[in-house]
């Protein structure tokens, strides 16, 4: 690789990253060192491994295949990738993951993606279309998500923001966010606090403490409020103190690209 001697030197690259990279970095920053996180494959797994390789070396990654405390040196290609078992503190049967570890509330953060998401953070990964028996699109289904959303102390959601995903009403509630608003989680008897933050490729949404409605609280560099509103299927509320996300640091980008570069 040649070096451009005239290029400006700075601690961080300028606008030299993609919206997906910004989203993954922002999601990774939501995870706290020394806590346990229930990780889904895909964007959540990428972000969780980025967090472990940067600011949260003692983040405990829990995969529903039964790997507790996995420390993969590359991104796993599936939920049951052998590298997760090879590097885990413990490998336990699947019933144990859900009954002993998730259900009693031992896991602080549930980290989920979404095919559809509504203003109350309810997630659909089951079917697109109003008729369950004759769906327009049959999605993979629930997997571990309903109980992760119910029982983890908090939920972090990561999803690309567009009108196909961010809908006024989800076609099917696979995993409960705030139901139909304040008080719903308590009525359902859900023990965890629900979705604390939603990270997208445009910004960050957080529930309004009074209405529980997801509200735009941060914009990523180069994104605009108009863009976020256009990508949202409900009238998107914007926080009065709308903030700007810190751009990815050079270190974050270097580690992220080393991780994803391993993928085929």
């Amino acid at each position: 690789m040649s070096v451009d001697r005239d290029a400006p030197r700075s601690a961080a690259p300028s606008a030299d990253w993609t919206a997906d990279e910004m989203m993954t970095v922002a999601a990774a920053r939501q995870l706290h060192d020394g806590t346990a996180c229930f990780v889904g494959i895909g964007l959540p797994s990428t972000a969780a491994n980025l967090a472990r390789a940067t600011h949260a070396p003692n983040l405990v990654l829990i995969y529903e295949s039964g790997c507790l405390g996995a420390k993969p040196g590359r991104l796993p290609l599936s939920i049951g990738d052998g590298i997760l078992a090879d590097t885990a503190d413990a490998v336990v049967p699947v019933p144990e993951v859900f009954n002993y570890w998730l259900q009693p509330g031992r896991i602080r953060t549930g980290f989920l993606g979404a095919a559809q998401l509504d203003r109350y953070g309810n997630i659909n990964t089951t079917v697109i279309g109003s008729d369950y028996t004759a769906p327009a699109v049959r999605l993979p289904g629930a997997g571990g998500a309903p109980e992760i959303a119910a029982s983890c102390g908090e939920v972090v959601v990561v999803a690309r923001q567009n009108r196909r995903t961010f809908v006024d009403k989800v076609d099917f509630v696979t995993s409960v966010g705030y139901g139909d608003g304040p008080g719903a989680r308590e009525r359902f008897g859900l023990r965890g606090a629900g979705p604390r933050v939603v990270i997208t490729d445009l910004g960050v949404l957080q529930p309004d403490p009074r209405t529980s409605e997801l509200t735009l609280t941060h914009l990523h560099p180069a994104a605009s409020v108009e863009q976020a509103r256009a990508a949202t299927g409900w009238p998107l509320a914007v926080a009065a103190d709308l903030a700007s996300t810190d751009p990815p640091t050079a270190a974050e980008l270097t580690v992220l690209r080393a991780l994803t570069g391993e993928l085929p």
């Binding site: 494959i41 895909g42 529903e64 295949s65 039964g66 790997c67 290609l77 599936s78 939920i79 049951g80 990738d81 052998g82 997760l84 078992a85 490998v91 049967p93 699947v94 019933p95 993951v97 859900f98 009954n99 998730l102 259900q103 089951t126 369950y132 004759a134 769906p135 327009a136 699109v137 049959r138 999605l139 993979p140 289904g141 629930a142 997997g143 571990g144 998500a145 309903p146 109980e147 119910a150 029982s151 099917f172 509630v173 696979t174 995993s175 409960v176 139901g179 719903a184 989680r185 359902f188 008897g189 859900l190 023990r191 085929p264």
Partner: protein, 272 residues
């Protein structure tokens, strides 16, 4: 003591048309070769049970073996959709597929109840989701001690469970390690079971505490080296990730799929 059988004889003797069949494996140790043998023996009207129906169930559904699926997540892990599963649900091809849909926690507990000889399992799950509206096998139950309302799901009792493992001895004692999924529970919940293994050995390495299905709890064992491919057997083989990616293209189109199955499964003899 388990009977040692060939794969073809094991399937012929244990899996019948209309049976409730569980083939478990959580990404790891998926009994692909056994699924291919079921396809070759043209089994029909099966109720397929599995937490994570992936490519092997996509193949069985696309070849018309199944009339119903009991599951919690149906996708190509790390890749995307299962196109034969979707075609069956969205368009009824090649035959309509009834769904009974759960979460992982629900399915895992259904197997636990089956293995425990109990009629149902209790969990804190499903509340507030739309799943109970479409799955009658999810019901509320009140704790007789605290009055708390929880969720009940009925025990799973498959007619036959098929799993893959690393090793067995000649008495049919089965050793497996790595990601162990829900295989032990699925075998103990079933009326009959077939375990395909990478190898049958005279003597198992004695490793205290290793997950072992004793031979007297298993109906039959068949030696099928590579029987998990393109899935993997920890210590024996790596997952063929390229195949999972390639399956997306093979399975999108009905004719491409059918042609691939003809060449690679139907005409392949019993060692595909």
């Amino acid at each position: 003591m388990a009977e040692l059988v060939s794969l073809a004889d094991g399937i012929a003797g244990l899996v019948g048309d209309g049976d409730v069949v569980s083939m478990e494996g959580f990404t790891h140790l998926i009994p692909f070769a056994a699924g291919h043998e079921i396809i070759r023996q043209r089994r029909r009207d099966l109720t397929l049970v599995r937490m994570t129906p992936d490519v092997i169930y996509d193949q069985m559904i696309g070849m018309g073996c199944a009339r119903a699926l009991v599951f919690s997540w149906g996708g190509n892990p790390g890749v995307g959709s299962l196109h034969r599963f979707r075609d069956a649900v969205e368009n009824g091809w090649p035959v309509p597929l009834d769904l009974e849909e759960h979460s992982h926690a629900g399915m895992a507990n259904r197997y636990v109840a089956g293995a425990s000889g109990l009629p149902f399992a209790v969990l804190r799950g499903y509340t507030g989701t739309d799943l109970p509206r479409h799955t009658p096998n999810i019901r509320p139950v009140t704790c007789p001690f605290t009055g708390e309302v929880l969720t009940a799901v009925p025990a799973l009792r498959p007619d036959v469970t098929v799993v893959h493992a690393q090793r067995a001895d000649r008495a049919g004692n089965v050793q497996f390690w790595g990601i162990s999924g829900v295989q032990k529970e699925a075998v103990l919940a079933a009326r009959r079971s077939l375990v395909t293994v990478e190898e049958i050995v005279d003597r198992l390495d004695p490793v205290p505490g290793q997950v072992v299905l004793p031979g007297w709890a298993v109906t039959a064992v068949a030696e099928v080296p590579g029987g998990a491919h393109p899935s993997y057997a920890h210590g024996y083989s790596d997952r063929d990730n390229d195949f999972y990616v390639a399956w997306d293209g093979i399975s999108r189109d009905r004719d491409t799929f059918t042609d691939w199955m003809e060449r690679h499964v139907l005409m392949a003899g019993d060692r595909a």
